[in-house]
Symmetry: C2
Subunit: 338 residues, 2 copies
Amino acid sequence: MSEGQIFRVAVDAMGGDHAPEETVAGAVEAAREGNVQVGLVGDPTVVQAEIEKHDTSGLPILPIESEGFIEEGEQPAIALRQKPKASVVVATSLVKKGMADGAVTMGSTGGAMAAAAVILGMMEGIERPALGGPIVGFAPNTVILDVGSNVDCRPSQLLSFGVIGDLWARIFWDVKNPRVSLLSVGSEFGKGNKQVRETSELFAKSGLNFVGNLEPHELPAGNVDVAVTDGFVGNVVMKLTEGIGQASIDLLRDGLQGRLSNDEIDSLAAELYEKTHVANHNGGGPLLGVNGVSIVGHGSGKREEVKRAIGIAKMLHDLGFTERLRDELAAVHGKVGG
Amino acid sequence: MSEGQIFRVAVDAMGGDHAPEETVAGAVEAAREGNVQVGLVGDPTVVQAEIEKHDTSGLPILPIESEGFIEEGEQPAIALRQKPKASVVVATSLVKKGMADGAVTMGSTGGAMAAAAVILGMMEGIERPALGGPIVGFAPNTVILDVGSNVDCRPSQLLSFGVIGDLWARIFWDVKNPRVSLLSVGSEFGKGNKQVRETSELFAKSGLNFVGNLEPHELPAGNVDVAVTDGFVGNVVMKLTEGIGQASIDLLRDGLQGRLSNDEIDSLAAELYEKTHVANHNGGGPLLGVNGVSIVGHGSGKREEVKRAIGIAKMLHDLGFTERLRDELAAVHGKVGG
């Protein structure tokens, strides 16, 4: 698959705080940049009206009909049953049917996860779609996962996250032999809770470059490529980083008031915000471990974030991420018998 | 018990980075301030030599013999067997025998915990000594626990931590009806991992003022009096707060270099350090849930921290913390049957 190939993306036009206006606008921009064919999934009348706000002549953009959409806060499993033609469901189904190479939504993360899990299915060793990324911005080349819905993990799942992170570092960051660590509360091998102790054993025989435990205060230093943890702790890491970041920004603003210009203070605050609010700043990421490309953007994202999410989907597709990950998960789980 | 009563403290003179010099000096200062009688537990020759550096005439200070001490990094259970007369063991035993009202050490936390657990014993609903405090300095009136060694917790243990935190807020901060929360990754009741879901049920019938889940980014706001979590997550919170704090300080220093005076930069950095490194700054805290007063100071603490640790021990004793906590734990566990 070369990067020159046309990438067919199904965009959920109805999901997100600024849908459909910004989702359609972002999709149109992506199509305009070339090599992307866009299916805009939503209420056809609404979508068509948005498309007509742009000059799309000659662009490969077509509306695709869906009925309703899954809202933030809805119980995903129930929503999926009650709204079988919801926009994110239709978009994900297009990937399953081979009619799209990837799906993108700025809507409910839970809805997108449920749709991906049910429609695309999970890879070996994965129970729910995982989320991750360099969520501590001080360490932009450390992927931390899971930070999402896998709040209760067996060791074999954590091993899977290690495999995902390893591939992530190799494929996106060109790291030859990624250093994979387990987030824990002590640095010695096996130190931590029961989950960490058992997972250490699996990692030790996984063939991954397992460098042992990483303590949370070491995260910002970026001395590992991958930090594995369950979705509960990972989510705590993400949200606490945001909270401490915001409180530090407030303290900074108070302390600098009247000593520096407002522009200088704003600039310093923005830098600290960017380092501590990566999810807001980057606007989402791939659902990891599902059999197909599915990207969930941040609900607050606007056209730039929509375009960026489509770009991520295209990159995953071009790199054959799904197929490679499926192979590597199967290989590692075969090796450890986990 | 009035605050005017003499408090008899057993101080581990040998534990800590700056023992015996600073531990003895801090103990002498505490005795000089009055109402404190000090037993200095250690090698008698060494301790006597340190005592003689000070003018202690008329002060209630006496050396108490011990053999060896438990070092940082030693496996506590093994150390306890191999060194049955170690300083922390002797100090803790004096509390057990009623010959001291409290023990203070700046030495190995693990050693102090093991000594307290074995010699003093645990209260109902507590499996190991718990550690906690307002470890996120932005919220100086939110006690977070456990942050220590209880890395695998049953729901009934987490309930016990809620009882401890509730008493902490009432007794130390004079809060009438403390708001007790569970740290979790979603704000709705019961949202989180299996542990949180099960613990929510116990809290709901505990009689405590349970206000539900608290998400990590809300911690710095200080809108709850107590945040309960297991020792793994609590330790992650403590260490990540330190890590993000330090990285923010570094960013701040870089960004302000040449724009403010070094003194101004240092002062702002110190303020942020204080907010994010509470354990280092406050220098330790009580072992919670043990049948007796036992304070572990930070290993790096000097005479000021030793004196402060003795002050904490005296306060716990004067307030009848141990007896009240034992009663309340028994009452709550009786109520929920947990």
